[in-house]
C-alpha cells in the first residue's frame, strides 16, 4: 500500500502520545483527569498494536481496558469521592515508600535489561506468526487457534480465576454493605 511511508511517523506519534499521557496520569493531581488521561493511554497503545499488525489485540485492549477497567476506575474514584490531591497530601508510611521504591526500581531494571539485550531478542527463534501469515489468515483466526490449542491450560485457568474474583467481590461487598446495615440498625435503635 502507498501509505506505508507514514508508518514510522505513526509509530512515533502513538509512542509519544502513550508516554505523554501516561506521564500525565501520574502528574495530574485530579484523579478523574488522570482517569481521562488513562483512556488516552490505552487508546494510543491500541494504535501501537495496530501498527504491529495485531488487530485483535488492539480491539481487545480498547474493549477491556478503555471499556471495563476504566468504568471501574471511574466508579471507584467517584465512590471514594477523592478530592484533587486528597491522596497525595496524606502522609505516607516510610516503610511503604521504601518498599515501593525498591519494587519499582526492580521493575525498571527488568525493562532496561530487555532493551539492552535487544540483540538477544533479535536472535530468538521467530514464531510462525509473521506479518505475511497475518495478512493471509487474519490475526483473529491465528489468535483463537493459538488460544484454544496451544494455550489451553491458561484458558481454562482463567475461568477459575474469574470465579475466584466473583467470590472475592461478593464477600467484600457483603462486608461493606453489612457494616452499613448494622450502622443503620444501630441508628434506628438510638432513636
Amino acid at each position: 500500500m502507498e501509505l506505508t511511508f507514514i508508518k514510522p511517523f505513526m509509530f512515533y506519534f502513538f509512542a509519544s502520545l502513550t508516554t505523554g499521557s501516561a506521564l500525565m496520569v501520574v502528574i495530574i493531581r485530579n484523579p478523574l483527569y488522570s482517569a481521562a488521561m488513562l483512556v488516552l493511554t490505552f487508546f494510543s497503545l491500541a494504535g501501537i498494536y495496530v501498527l504491529l499488525n495485531s488487530e485483535i489485540i488492539a480491539v481487545l485492549q480498547v474493549f477491556v481496558y478503555a471499556g471495563a477497567i476504566m468504568v471501574l476506575v471511574t466508579f471507584v474514584i467517584m465512590l471514594l469521592n477523592l478530592r484533587s490531591g486528597a491522596l497525595i497530601n496524606k502522609p505516607t508510611h516510610i516503610i511503604r515508600s521504601v518498599v515501593a521504591v525498591i519494587f519499582s526500581f526492580l521493575l525498571f531494571i527488568c525493562l532496561i535489561s530487555i532493551f539492552v539485550s535487544g540483540n538477544q531478542v533479535e536472535n530468538a527463534p521467530k514464531g510462525v506468526i509473521t506479518a505475511a501469515a497475518i495478512e493471509s489468515e487474519g490475526s483473529f483466526q491465528l489468535f483463537s487457534r493459538a488460544l484454544f490449542s496451544e494455550y489451553l491450560l491458561p484458558f481454562e485457568l482463567v475461568s477459575l480465576l474469574l470465579t475466584v474474583a466473583v467470590i472475592g467481590v461478593v464477600v467484600l461487598i457483603r462486608g461493606i454493605s453489612g457494616a452499613e446495615e448494622n450502622k443503620q440498625a444501630k441508628k434506628g435503635q438510638g432513636r
Binding site: F63, S159, T163, V169, I173, I176
Partner: protein, 123 residues
C-alpha cells in the same frame, strides 16, 4: 493490519474535527453574557447547596466488577465461537466442545453463587 485501521483513524479525526469546528463556531456566533446566576448549577430554582459529588452506594461498584468479569469472559468466549466451525472441520469438534463446557461450567457456578448470595439485589 495497518491499512484497515487507517479509515477508522480518519473517521475519528474527522468526527472530532467536525464537532470541534462546530463548537468553535458557536463560540464565535453565540452571545457571551456571563452573570453569576446563569453560571450556577441547575437545582430546580433553589440555590445550589453542598457539593453534588457525594459518595455513592457500593452497589454501583459491584455492578462494575461483575461487568469486568463478564467482559473478560466475553473476550474468551466470542473468539471461541468464531473459531469453533474451523475446529469442527478439522475433526476436533468434541475436543473444543469439552473445552468450552468446562469453562462455562465453572463460570456458571460463579454466577449461581452471586445469585444465591443475593448480591444482585438492588434495593
Amino acid at each position: 493490519m495497518f491499512h484497515s485501521f487507517g479509515p477508522i483513524l480518519m473517521q475519528l479525526v474527522l468526527a472530532i474535527g467536525f464537532a470541534g469546528a462546530i463548537v468553535a463556531l458557536t463560540a464565535i456566533i453565540g452571545p457571551k453574557k456571563i452573570n453569576p446566576v446563569k453560571m450556577d448549577s441547575y437545582e430546580c430554582g433553589v440555590d445550589p447547596f453542598a457539593d453534588a459529588r457525594g459518595a455513592f452506594h457500593v452497589k454501583f461498584f459491584l455492578v462494575a466488577v461483575l461487568f469486568i468479569l463478564f467482559d473478560v469472559e466475553a473476550i474468551f468466549v466470542i473468539p471461541w465461537a468464531g473459531s469453533f466451525l474451523a475446529f469442527k472441520k478439522a475433526g476436533l469438534g468434541l475436543f473444543i466442545y469439552l473445552e468450552m463446557a468446562f469453562f462455562m461450567a465453572i463460570l456458571l457456578a460463579g454466577y449461581y453463587y452471586i445469585l444465591k448470595k443475593g448480591a444482585l439485589k438492588w434495593e
